[in-house]
């Protein structure tokens, strides 16, 4: 009830804004996608037979419910194409997130230990790539990695290789692109946690007999876990649905779920199956999100 006193009337209504946003731009579109996922393909415009026709009243809706079809979802399970692209998405996302952590943590740690006046500059350097369009940066990588690209030229000039190496259209190129693109999303939350850490905690650890290495593993690392969680999730979730990077840098051998979705929507024009795949992806993403939320709440409440 104290909110009545703290916030003026308009401010109280402003609290609705995020919910309104969620309903308008997430829940309603998701409803559309869900609806499409339960319909049947048709050669038409749009290319599916609507399940619900709201113009025919309640009885029609009830009838529709009675004969709802989960055929599209069954197809997802039965066709190995979908299962393998889901699996590949998870593998790529997990691997990338681990690599990102291994690279991002030392960088964030180093940034947090820089002298106070250098930290904003380091922060700028992390963010600077965002000033160039993401797509352009990926195309730049294509340029660097191609047969007669910069990387091969350097390797040849240094006599490290005798003939150009195939970089483009490999998983290596894809991981390179993903790690490069998502690194700031890993560094920033880690830096935020690490820079907030009270330096007197490390002094206390040292005073109580910890070597710097012990102090890192006993204090710095456990206390930075919320940042690790935030960074990992911030990378893992968008990487799972990533389309552009695997499409441009990886080979055509196997697809991630984002590519499969694109294929179903635009090449096969099978909207219902594509919608079902999208819904399944969301369901796949909910458990890690809930887990993170629980962990976050536990750290906020101090383990009560």
């Amino acid at each position: 009830m104290s909110t009545h006193r703290i916030f003026a009337r308009p401010a109280r209504y402003a609290a609705i804004a995020p919910y309104l946003w969620m309903v308008l731009f997430f829940l309603v579109p998701f409803g559309f996608v869900l609806k499409i996922s339960l319909s049947q393909t048709a050669i038409a415009q749009p290319p599916y037979v609507p399940v619900f026709d709201f113009s025919e009243g309640w009885s029609a809706i009830n009838a529709a419910f009675a004969q709802l079809s989960f055929d599209n979802f069954r197809l997802l399970i039965s066709d190995s194409l979908y299962i393998s692209s889901y699996l590949r998405s998870v593998v790529v996302a997990v691997t990338s997130t681990l690599i990102l952590l291994l690279i991002g943590y030392p960088i964030a740690y180093g940034m947090a230990r820089l002298p106070q006046r250098w930290q904003p500059i380091a922060m700028m350097l992390v963010i600077v790539p965002f000033w160039t369009s993401f797509l352009i940066r990926i195309y730049a990588w294509i340029n660097i990695l191609q047969h007669d690209g910069l990387l091969n030229k350097i390797l040849l000039a240094l006599h490290l290789v005798s003939s150009p190496v195939v970089w483009l259209s490999t998983d290596t190129a894809m991981y390179l692109g993903i790690v490069y693109s998502y690194l700031p999303f890993m560094i920033l939350p880690l830096y935020a946690t690490l820079s907030k850490m009270d330096p007197s905690l490390l002094e206390a650890a040292s005073d109580l007999g910890s070597s710097p290495r012990q102090a890192f593993w006993l204090l710095t690392f456990p206390l930075s876990l919320p940042g690790v969680g935030a960074g990992a999730l911030l990378c893992f979730i968008p990487i799972i649905g990533e389309f552009v990077i695997p499409d441009l840098l990886a080979g055509s051998g196997s697809m991630m779920i984002g590519q499969t979705l694109w294929l179903e929507f635009f090449t096969n024009k099978d909207w219902p199956v594509a919608a079902a795949a999208a819904v399944a992806l969301l369901v796949l993403l909910v458990p890690p999100l809930l887990l993170y939320d629980r962990l976050q709440r536990r750290t906020l409440e101090g383990g009560r």
Binding site: D198, L201, E203, A204, D207, G209
Partner: protein
Amino acid sequence: MSGQSPEIDTAKINTAVAQATAPANDTPLLRVESVSKKFGDFRAVDRLSLDINAGEFFALLGPSGCGKTTLLRMLAGFETPDEGRILLGGRDIAPVLPHERPVNMMFQNYALFPHLSVRDNIAFGLKRAGMARAAIDTRVGEMVALVKLDGLEKRRPDQLSGGQKQRVALARSLARRPKVLLLDEPLAALDKKLRESTQLELMELQRRLGMTFIVVTHDQEEAMTMANRIGVMDAGRLEQVATPRDLYEAPASRWIAQFVGDVNLFDGEVASREHHHLTIATRDGGSIVVAEPRDLVGNTVVSVGIRPEKVKVSRRGPASDAGTSQAINRLEGVVTDVSYLGGSTVYKLKLDSGAVVRSSIANTARLDIDTLSAGQRVVAWFTPDDCVVLEK
């Protein structure tokens, strides 16, 4: 330093010193030898020397920025001296890293590990020392009992009150049984009542453990309550090292007299000298007779300091000087302000010269029939023994 105290009170002061200081020891436990610490061009600690004996409760007192925390951090090993040596038990500890020093520190903000329970916080230093599990459990149990934290072992720091956190920090720093315990403003975060009771507990604890405590504080009352000896620091230097009583009754300088407690100061010049008594011609208080054993040759510009509680105030002043066989200094003026503080009442008098004198009179009786009120003309008086001559 105590040699500078006037002869008059030495009997009393010496008894106090004998009671207060730890048994004399040939080599001090901790010796600081002309240590300096510079931050850029700023000398945080400036060629400072200090001896601390085993079993002492020593307080470093000073205004903020005087270098007392820097000195403490050098003792803990978090800062390295730019010049000088620090000897612990006769051994130079400059090359000894903080985690290898037999010294522990209690931090001002407690620096409790937020992700560990009370028990694990206290056990932290013991585990690093490679103590056996059973021994750790026993020691933690002792510590928990010592600081009266029973039943809270499983709590995490954010589930504790300020006073409980303070106890955990204390237990954690005591658990390794250091030779010297450093306490950085240990009570600053507690409220007044809790601070007072904790002061007494700290003293009791120090006496029981026989450990050497060095406490940094800006609170002079805290320093005076707890410490055997106090080192007063200003601008990176030790201004005076003395027992609480010496510090108050025989301050080494004008600055110390003003920093420790309240004082009335009269600037003047030495006019004459006889039988350990000086007559000082002051600008605002006329001639003041002062008991002073030192021969202040060549230093005639001095200040006379009198603590407010040594200034008596009455309508007429003492009947005669016969009772004390000493000349009594009298100042006449008008009461301008009366502040009743419970235990005492502070009177502000405006002398005829325009100077203000403060007098603090203990309220020894519940009913006071002879109160002075503003506007009354009164006599303020004090004996030569009550005055201190300050040179700087």
